[in-house]
């Protein structure tokens, strides 16, 4: 266990899951490739999320770091994991701001550990921004969430 990075459960401000959170830190993608027992990984913007696909079922936590909120690579990483069937916790960490929450949620993030705690009311409003959505994404893979086009055509 060369590295033990990342956020602890008490840094998580919003969590949309009922299971027990992983109680230890994460390792880098490189370390995870070497350590066959690692179950918590941290993805940095330049990392290829697809490297994790070979051992997705042993992962319980993937945290995706947003060192700057303007770097959108983490959104693709999140969707790639969800598209591959990852069902563990997907945590957005770093510069996670109010106005990114709704998009992050749609890309499959289900927990959020912002560097700076967010205003609860503003965040609640942000999570509820879109009553309907145009695109298929990680959320529409889940039951109960359909796109506008699907609703229009009764699909």
């Amino acid at each position: 266990m060369a590295d033990n990075l990342g956020t602890s459960p008490d840094e998580v401000q919003f969590r949309f899951r009922d299971d027990e959170p992983v109680d230890h830190g994460t390792v880098t993608v490189d370390s995870a490739l070497e350590q066959t027992n690692a179950n918590a990984v941290r993805i940095e913007p330049g990392d290829d999320a697809r490297l994790l696909l070979a051992f997705l079922d042993r992962l319980a936590l993937v945290e995706v770091n947003f060192p700057s909120f303007t770097d959108g690579r983490g959104y693709s990483a999140a969707r790639i994991l969800r598209e591959a069937g990852y069902t563990g916790e997907l945590r957005a960490v770093g510069e996670v701001l109010i106005d990114q929450l709704s998009h992050m949620r749609r890309c499959g993030f289900d927990s959020f550990a912002p560097d700076k705690r967010l205003d609860e009311e503003d965040a609640a409003r942000a999570f509820a921004t879109w009553e309907s959505v145009y695109q298929r994404a990680a959320d529409t893979q889940m039951p109960g969430r359909r796109t506008i086009a699907d609703k229009r055509h009764g699909a």
Partner: protein, 557 residues
């Protein structure tokens, strides 16, 4: 024309509410300016030299009379009584107060309009052929595909923080009237063996590193269009450069990887996304396409054709093809697919005027003309002009009379007076030089000498800085304003084209001051007139004789 349903309306309403909330949090200090900036940009709000500028999206350049009137109302209520139509088929207001922005967005939403993603590092307004649905040479109307892309790209959760801005263009004819291959993604809808599909050109653009987009896929089945676009964007979002703003556009990625390697990665992602299933249901495209069915054109026997107009002209001794109405018909109308109809171009380039500007009164007059004569429809052209897409030839005299009275009948489409110019240093905080006064001087000079007609088709484009908003790389003649030791200096370039014969202009040599560049443009047209063979446009002559004769005339032997 497309009409919002309850869902579309709810989306723009949600956006207005979201922006109002963002503005509130900014004013309460909960958002820093750095945090607020990308949010306001994604709602079209720029900070310029003197005030905020608001850019309103006009999807694929199509709008109805009511929307044009709403734009006029906004110009009067919140700006100084005018607006500026842009090369991306949008409209910009240059004198906006931040406090008013949310109210303006609400006014827009009431008329099925918005400013969503008209700026910022996200997918921008989808542009298209301004003659869509009217042109005689189109395979299909490209707008349903553009609308499908509009919905897909609006608030796309994965592609809201791209490395850089991202521009789509969709056309459906061999002729390219929308600079398709100078977009991040240019799509041409084609038919192969009766099946409709899309050619994808990826990695074009202007800016400081102009590039012509290579073809990366010759045929994407139409029911996989969104999936392919999503794959192309995902590769860019993951691997586009983020270390240097000036190397962050997709053209650099495609260039650095090579078109073949970029294509390979897109194909891999495409195969994966096909298995995930991100395409909207098939019926959605059909639903959208119904909004773009033909307006009820009159039977040809009830209408005139151009020959009848000619015979009317022949029977009228005062009628002249080289003046007034006749000249306008000759220059400013375009062949329509319905017999008895043409598309009528409204030049926003009056001699000595500001390219692309229209007053609120002019917008209202155009709205009225569209209602009376063009099935309620107007278009914005990327050349910063407007268009009545479907008018009866028999109605042209009445339309021209009304336009002429409103100062909107300049008969100069595609001539040297029809200049594309960016806002330049008169408005823009990025500019190094003024573009507008230069455009004014050149059009005045050529109009006064009567040379406009002699020179014929000549596309002159002026940018006030290297970002190339005035498309100077794609001008038959391009002018780029730069700063040289604190003074405005203008580089001249020749040989560009944004059309199906797309090419990038080459710099002639050392730059000029403002007087110098006006004279240089005249010198360049002298060389052309001296060398042109029968029927050659400026660009044809340039391509035949090359740069040397122009250089010699400009700088001496």
């Amino acid at each position: 024309m497309y009409k919002y349903d309850e869902y579309d309306q709810a989306m723009v309403d949600a956006r207005v509410a979201e922006f109002r909330d963002q503005a509130r949090r900014r004013m309460e200090g909960k958002l820093t300016e750095d945090q607020f900036k990308p949010l306001r940009l994604m709602n079209g709000l720029y900070l310029q030299l003197h005030a905020y500028m608001l850019r309103v999206a006009i999807p694929y350049g199509t709008l109805n009379s009511r929307q044009m009137e709403a734009l006029a109302d906004i110009a009067e209520k919140y700006d100084r009584g005018y607006g500026h139509f842009t090369t991306r088929q949008n409209i910009q207001y240059n004198w906006i107060r931040l406090e008013d922005a949310a109210d303006i967005l609400a006014d827009l939403a009431r008329h099925e309009m918005h400013a969503i993603q008209t700026s910022g590092n996200c997918i921008r307004n989808i542009s298209s052929d301004h003659f869509a649905g009217a042109a005689a040479d189109e395979v299909v109307d490209p707008r349903p595909y553009a609308e499908l892309l509009r919905q897909w790209s609006s608030f796309h959760p994965e592609f809201t923080h791209l490395p850089r801005k991202f521009k789509f263009c969709v056309i459906a004819a061999e002729k390219d009237r929308a600079a398709m291959r100078l977009h991040d993604i240019g799509i041409r809808i084609v038919k192969r063996d009766g099946a409709v599909g899309a050619q994808f050109y990826v990695g074009g653009g202007m800016g400081r590193t102009p590039m012509i987009a290579p073809l990366i896929r010759d045929f994407v089945a139409v029911d996989q269009l969104i999936t392919y676009a999503e794959a192309a964007l995902r590769v860019y979002n993951r691997y586009g450069r983020r270390d240097n703003k000036y190397k962050a556009r997709i053209k650099i990625l495609v260039h650095e990887l090579g078109a073949a390697e970029y294509t390979r990665q897109v194909e891999e992602e495409f195969a994966h996304l096909l298995s995930v299933g991100v395409e909207p249901p098939r019926e959605e495209l059909a639903r959208i396409a119904e909004f773009f069915s033909n307006p009820p054109f009159r039977h040809p026997s009830e209408s005139w054709d151009l020959e009848q107009l000619q015979s009317m002209a022949a029977g009228d001794p005062s009628f002249r093809w080289d003046d007034g109405f006749g000249l306008w018909v000759r220059r400013n109308t375009h062949q329509h697919r319905a017999p008895g109809y043409v598309s009528a171009i409204i030049s926003l380039k009056p001699v000595g005027g500001i390219p692309g500007d229209a007053t609120a009164d002019q917008m209202r007059i155009l709205a009225k003309l569209a209602r009376e004569y063009s099935f309620d429809e107007l278009r914005v052209m990327h050349t910063q002009n407007l268009l009545l897409p479907h008018v009866r030839i028999a109605d042209l005299p009445a339309i021209w009379t009304a336009l002429d009275a409103a100062g909107l009948a300049a008969p100069n489409m595609d001539t040297i007076e029809d200049i594309i110019a960016c806002p330049g240093l008169d408005y823009c905080s990025l500019a190094n030089a003024r573009s507008i006064p230069l455009a004014q001087r050149i059009s005045e000079r050529f109009a006064a000498s009567g040379r406009t007609e002699v020179v014929g088709e000549l596309k002159l484009k002026i940018s006030g800085c290297i970002n190339a908003c005035g498309h100077h790389h794609a001008g038959h003649i391009g002018i780029l304003g730069v700063d040289r030791k604190g003074k405005e200096n203008f580089q001249l370039s020749l040989g560009g084209s944004e059309a199906e014969d797309v090419s990038l202009a080459k710099i002639t040599g050392p730059g000029f001051d403002e007087d110098g560049v006006v004279a240089a443009v005249e010198t360049v047209t002298d060389v052309y007139l001296g060398a042109r063979a029968d029927g050659e446009r400026f660009i044809d002559t340039y391509r035949r004789i090359g740069m040397e004769p122009f250089k010699e005339a400009l700088y001496g032997g």
